[in-house]
Structure formats: structure tokens, C-alpha cells
């Protein structure tokens, strides 16, 4: 319980009605403001909302009602239309800086042709970095990438969409460049995992806790790398992940 604000019995009495959306606009605004400074009231509202949600299953027909299939068609076509718009935006922004958060978020959901464009954008960004301060290490890696020993791999979502690229050098060092992994809430972090050794039964080791706003990250692994994965974890990272990766790469 925070001491941000004292409990107010009058407002506490409204929490049930608040959880049912049964307040008028004025009272709702007062409770909204109250919840900002009162974690215990916030916790009660979360619990009561969970309870209210169960009510939705009470009507006999509700729990087993199938989702209207024609409605999914409308949702999917709206998404497709937005992706077309995003492609046009991405095409206009091919030369935009990779650090432009808005551009990154706009281009986040892209179809194949837009992805090709964003690869061009990332290549431009990589070149810009090479010309920048951190020249030596990356320059070596890019040179290595042209050689049989060095390489670039894509970290991809479960649906195959490329989310980030990794340049791997023969000495086990690597550099990850984020393309489409969104900024996480402050209490989450991306974490990179290296799969080492046998491809069928790899040993999974953490290759770095990357923070919630991932742009670029350097890492180094010792031993034969067969794959990479990125998970979302609580801030600070974990020793062993229980999460499904948001992106993976196979290093053949």
C-alpha cells in the first residue's frame, strides 16, 4: 500500500459500481483519479473486474457462443487495409533514421514487400553506424559477413515476419539490430538466448538482457551457435526462461 493518498471511504464505496461500468461520467472520472494514487483500490478494482468478466459467462448461451466468422473477415480486411497504408508509409520513409520511433511503430506490421523496403532501411542504418563512432568492431563483422565464416541472420516471429537482424562474426561476437520489436512497458525487458551445441538438443544460455526499448545490442557467445531466440521477461531478466520466444533464428 502506497502512502500516495489516504483511502477515501466514499470513493471506495464506488469501486464495485466502477468495475461494472455503472458510474456516470463524473463519478467515473473521480474514481479514475483516485485509483492513480491508491494501489490497494486499484488492486480491488482489478479483482472486481475479473469477477465482473465471469458474469459475462453466466447466460447459458454466452460461454459457448461461437465468434461470428463474418466479423473476423471484417477485422482481417481492416488490418490488411492498414498494412497497405503502412507499406506506403514505409516506402516514403525508406531513408528515415532507424531511431525514429514513430516510423518504427508505423512500419511494425508490414507485409512482405514492405519488409523488403525496411531491410533496405536497416542496411542504410547499418552503413550509417559503420561511418559513425563504433566503426571498428562492426566494420570487422560486416567484412566477416561477406566471408564464408561471417553472416547475417534474421530473427523472425512465429509467423515468419522478420523482426530483427543479427550480424554474426566467426569469433562468436554478434550484433543485433532491431527492426520491428516494439518498446515494452518499463517493467519488461527483451532477453536474447543463444542455443549452443547439438541442434537437436541445444544448450540454451542467456546472451544478454536487452532492456525494454531495444535498438541495437552487442553480444558474444563461446562455442558453436545453432540458434538464437528473443523472449520478453520481467525487467532484470531471468536465468531460465519459461516464455515462448517472440523471435527466433536458426544458425545452420
Amino acid at each position: 500500500m502506497s502512502d500516495a493518498r489516504a483511502p477515501d471511504p466514499e470513493l471506495d464505496a464506488l469501486l464495485g459500481a466502477y468495475a461494472l461500468d455503472a458510474l456516470d461520467a463524473g463519478e467515473r472520472a473521480r474514481v479514475d483519479a483516485y485509483l492513480e494514487g491508491n494501489p490497494s483500490a486499484r488492486a480491488e478494482v482489478d479483482e472486481l473486474r475479473e469477477t465482473a468478466a465471469a458474469l459475462a459467462l453466466a447466460p447459458v448461451a454466452a460461454a459457448n457462443e461461437p465468434a461470428p466468422p463474418e466479423l473476423w473477415g471484417r477485422i482481417a480486411s481492416t488490418i490488411a487495409a492498414e498494412q497497405t497504408a503502412a507499406e506506403e508509409t514505409a516506402a516514403e520513409q525508406t531513408v528515415a533514421p532507424a531511431d525514429d520511433e514513430l516510423a518504427r511503430r508505423r512500419a511494425r506490421r508490414t507485409s512482405t514487400s514492405a519488409r523488403v523496403l525496411s531491410v533496405v532501411a536497416v542496411a542504410a542504418a547499418v552503413v550509417a553506424v559503420v561511418l559513425g563512432a563504433q566503426v571498428l568492431s562492426l566494420h570487422r563483422q560486416l567484412n566477416d559477413a561477406k566471408n564464408p565464416g561471417g553472416r547475417t541472420v534474421a530473427l523472425a516471429a512465429p509467423n515468419g515476419a522478420e523482426l530483427a537482424r543479427v550480424v554474426l562474426a566467426p569469433d562468436g561476437s554478434g550484433r543485433l539490430v532491431n527492426e520491428h520489436l516494439a518498446t515494452l512497458p518499463a517493467n519488461r525487458t527483451y532477453q536474447l538466448w543463444a542455443m549452443m551445441g547439438d541442434k537437436q538438443h541445444p544448450t540454451v544460455v542467456s546472451a544478454g538482457v536487452l532492456g525494454n526499448d531495444l535498438r541495437r545490442a552487442n553480444f558474444k557467445v563461446a562455442g558453436p551457435l545453432v540458434g538464437l531466440a528473443v523472449t520478453v521477461e520481467q525487467a532484470g531478466g531471468v536465468v531460465v526462461s519459461r516464455q515462448q520466444p517472440v523471435a527466433t533464428a536458426s544458425v545452420a
Binding site: 479483482e47 468478466a53 454466452a62 526462461s241
Partner: protein
């Protein structure tokens, strides 16, 4: 362990794997732009969301708008779902209910509804009373509801399914506002305890 398929080194990609994934996993994939994860969440929760919105609005077309809007919003802003504050399902139900109530309270929707309601009983329909044999989750919720006093049930049902504010419920039932307000809260807290007993809520 990182849940990578051992033979391919890639995470779940097939329909079968998505169907067995948790809501939490699907939410993460959603954050990575996986439209199939949204489709799976829609398959799981779209029906009850639609059913709830239609019940509140008494209007199929408006209910479809609500469901379309909340799933598109989930797609565009998946970070608004915070798994530390509750389940994906209750998040979606709360979104559907809140949006339906907003529409209901818009004056035009209200007028249309009142015209329709002139032909219906103002009380909650009797679905809740209907006996069912199987031990579904809905059945567990109905048993939990049955542990409330009749007065608590009535105010909660009118507020939640009727989309009424507690002040409107007080007018409908000719009860003091303070009584309705406290019955809603005490009833919900009792319902929560009963749902925990039924194993529906943790």
C-alpha cells in the same frame, strides 16, 4: 526453457500449436505482429464478447461494431493488455462491456433501446435460471451467482447486463442510491469468493 521446437528450432507456427498456446503466449506473439495469434484470440473470446455486447445493447449490428473495435484495438495496441493485472479474457470482456455501455449511453442508442424495451420485460431474461446438466464454466458462474442474496443479484444483473448506472438502478428499483451502491460492491466481493470456491477464479 525457451519454448523452441527441438526439431526445427522455431517456435509454434502451426494451427495446432497455436490452439494449445496460452492466452499469454498469444499476447506476446501479438506484440510481435502475429496476425494468426489475433485470429486465435478471436476464436477463443470473440463469441462471448459478442454475446455480452449484444445483451447490453440489444442490437446485433452495434454489438458487432463493439467486437470489431476491441479486437482491432488489441491488434494496434497490444501493450494495453497488462498480464499482471488480470487475464486476457477478463481484459477483453471489460473492453467489450465498457464500449457497449458507452454506446448505450449515447443518446441515440438509448432512444432506440427504450423503444425496443417497451416491448420487453425490463428485468434480466431468464437464461440465468435455466438448468443445464453439464458442468461448464458458465454453470459454475451460475452456481456462484446463486450464493448471492436476491437483492444483490438483482442490482448486479441490472447494472452489468442492463448497462444501467447504479443511480438508474436505484430509480428502477425504487431503492436508495447508497443501498444499491453498497449491494453492488458487497455482492461482487461475495461473488468473487464464490468463484474462487468454484475454481473459476484464482
Amino acid at each position: 526453457m525457451v519454448g523452441v521446437n527441438e526439431t526445427t528450432g522455431r517456435p509454434a507456427t502451426t494451427e495446432a500449436e497455436r490452439r494449445s498456446a496460452s492466452d499469454h503466449d498469444l499476447a506476446l506473439w501479438l506484440g510481435a505482429g502475429d496476425e494468426a495469434a489475433l485470429a486465435e484470440l478471436y476464436r477463443r473470446h470473440g463469441g462471448p464478447c459478442f454475446s455480452l455486447a449484444r445483451r447490453v445493447l440489444s442490437d446485433r449490428v452495434l454489438a458487432e461494431e463493439v467486437v470489431q473495435e476491441i479486437f482491432l484495438r488489441l491488434w494496434r495496441q497490444p501493450e494495453r493488455f497488462d498480464p499482471t493485472r488480470g487475464s486476457m479474457r477478463s481484459f477483453l470482456f471489460a473492453q467489450a462491456h465498457g464500449r457497449a455501455v458507452d454506446l448505450l449511453r449515447a443518446e441515440t442508442a438509448r432512444r432506440a433501446r427504450e423503444e425496443r424495451d417497451a416491448f420487453r420485460s425490463p428485468t434480466v431474461d431468464d437464461d440465468l435460471e435455466r438448468a443445464v446438466a453439464d458442468l461448464t464454466e458458465g454453470e459454475a458462474v451460475r452456481r456462484a451467482l446463486a450464493t448471492l442474496s436476491a437483492a444483490e443479484r438483482q442490482v448486479i444483473e441490472l447494472a452489468y447486463f442492463g448497462g444501467h448506472t447504479y443511480r438508474e438502478v436505484a430509480v428502477l428499483l425504487e431503492q436508495p442510491e447508497g443501498t444499491v451502491k453498497s449491494r453492488i460492491r458487497s455482492g461482487l466481493l461475495r461473488l468473487r469468493a464464490a468463484l474462487i470456491d468454484e475454481g473459476v477464479t484464482e
